[in-house]
Symmetry: C2
Subunit: 352 residues, 2 copies
């Protein structure tokens, strides 16, 4: 089992030779140069990540990590906390949106209990990496101890370590946790330095009163805890969540193993903020799946310097955006690998 | 064989009962209401189009229609005209971008010769609906006769008629034709009333001199021919192309058979302008696949009132954007059909 420092140090720079070879191949495929835009860029990025000039992404996995949040006491969510385990069981039975979209793109869903408030029944497809039964209410003090934050990161990394052993080619991140847009907004405010009111959104659809309670909760959590924006572990422990820590750890481990990471929406992007704060060189391994409808997501993407693949007004989480974007990224790599060149197809090139 | 008027009159309004049933089902699925944004809207639209409150789109077809253009004499394209048949053969061998992306999403590609300048070798997968061997140079007079324009529309409709017989659930449109961004820009300028300079782009990558020749060619074609913007057949015959007419006819026939149409990029959208001018009630059957990088595409989408599904800086044509968007639309319909309801999954609903 690696330490956090070992994970961070294991992340290599992208392979520039593989990227150059991929870019050169894109230019001799039977299409005007650059005409597949973002698809070409994604394929070159994945070449650099994997070190393979013609990467294939057949084994696709979405890790949907679940956790509960003490801050729900503040009335910040439209749904009761019991929905977290109920939705975990829905994932395990295949009835949730992430199951449908993952099946659609040919990805596997791995559900991880990072910190659900109740004990879950052990069953096929559920990985137990529980740090504790929910975080504490961050408006009164740290959401978790520094040791728990570290444990969440390492537990998330260990999930990816197992998936790598099973042959995973690409990781998509997903989340489930009633109340988790509140710590995500707090993380974003802490790290980007923007005001909570610019970042907090309505999550699963809280009403006006709940929305103002949510802004107030984030403001109070930041005032009470004063997280250090340069210290990802400090931010995670004071205003984070176990599933958010797990996702950040998963990102570090995937990058250390040269696997691309498709970052879902608001919660996953908060995890990316933690991961990049801990290890700035993880950034080129990240692909932002979509622009969430949740207010403040754009601020997080801008801080990360990521341009999302999709913009479909989604705000569900679970990894739903990551699943759809993963399909696009896989298609981009197939373009690079499967298309005929001008020479192979006997097609005339551009006139100079 | 139906007449054009019969095709136009055969297009029914969307089924509002099916749309209502789909919208009601979306609201009881295990997710916050509206949280899948565009996916929910697409599924409801397809329910209305098909008349089925839980539509499935398993049999997906992209028709890639090819034609040549007399206006290439004006030096408007970066590639020589011989590339049109060369790319048709590339499609038939499966080496082009559209083949890769269609395979990726599980769609079939049907290649149609609507008006390639040379005789093509008959082979499996190629449908010959040739109206003539390329259009005439529209800067000197009409690109085709009114009878040829009508023939192109009916030939395109007949392709779809055959596909419906084979069980097609959804149509994606695609094009191949060296020089065809020039007539497409002329159609857009004629119908939207915007200046050619605001619409003409660089197509497959013409240089500065070619770009200005292209604007001048569109301006001259409009001045010489004076197409009537209210008469789709007049616009098509004077400044159109055979593949563009074929695609417009295919759209009318698909709508008449209650099948959704995923409209690819710049050329397909020009065909949609013709189709909507001929039959305004075809519009709700159209789904704009993506925002092309080609200048002027936004003007066309705005005139049509369509909001594209994807924005990936693509500008290739062939149906490549339609293939990727079709995957998203199919996923949207699977969400509607396959997700568990709150009651089925035993998940608590939102607190009021």
């Amino acid at each position: 089992m690696r330490t956090l420092e070992e994970w961070v140090n294991a992340i290599p720079p992208l392979d520039s030779a593989a990227m150059r070879a991929a870019a050169e191949r894109q230019n001799i495929l039977t299409k005007p140069q650059g005409s597949l835009g973002r698809l070409e860029q994604l394929s070159i990025q994945v070449a650099g990540i994997t070190g393979n000039p013609r990467p294939r992404l057949s084994h696709k996995v979405i890790t949907t990590m679940a956790g509960d949040h003490g801050v729900v006491e503040e009335g910040v969510s439209a749904f009761p906390q019991e929905v977290t385990p109920q939705m975990v069981y829905n994932f395990l039975r295949g009835g949730a949106a992430i199951n449908v979209l993952a099946r659609h793109v040919g990805a596997r869903v791995v559900v991880v209990d990072m910190g659900v408030a109740v004990d879950l029944e052990l069953q096929e497809g559920l990985v137990i990496k529980k740090v504790a039964k929910g975080t504490r209410n961050m408006t009164h003090g740290p959401a978790m101890t520094r040791e728990q934050a570290l444990q969440a990161l390492l537990n998330g990394a260990s999930v990816v370590e197992e998936l790598i052993g099973e042959g995973m080619d690409i990781l998509g991140t997903g989340d489930m946790g009633i109340g988790n847009t509140t710590p995500s907004a707090a993380i974003a405010a802490a790290i980007t330095g923007r005001a909570p009111a610019a970042i907090v959104g309505r999550g699963t659809g809280v009403d006006d009163a709940g929305f103002y309670r949510k802004i107030a909760a984030v403001e109070r959590a930041l005032a009470v805890n004063r997280p250090d924006p340069k210290d990802g572990l400090d931010v995670l422990s004071k205003v984070g969540g176990f599933e958010i820590g797990g996702l950040a750890g998963a990102m570090l481990a995937a990058a250390a193993h040269r696997r691309p990471v498709v970052v879902d929406g608001f919660i996953s992007t908060a995890a990316a903020l933690i991961a990049v704060t801990l290890a700035p060189h993880v950034r080129p391994y990240l692909i932002a799946a979509h622009r969430s409808q949740e207010q403040g997501h754009g601020i997080m993407l801008e801080w990360l310097g990521l341009n999302p693949v999709l913009d479909l007004d989604m705000r569900l989480g679970e990894g739903t955006g990551a699943a759809l974007a993963m399909g696009i990224v896989e298609g981009a790599c197939k373009i690079l690998d499967e298309m005929a060149t001008f020479a192979e197809a006997g097609v005339s090139e551009k006139e100079e």
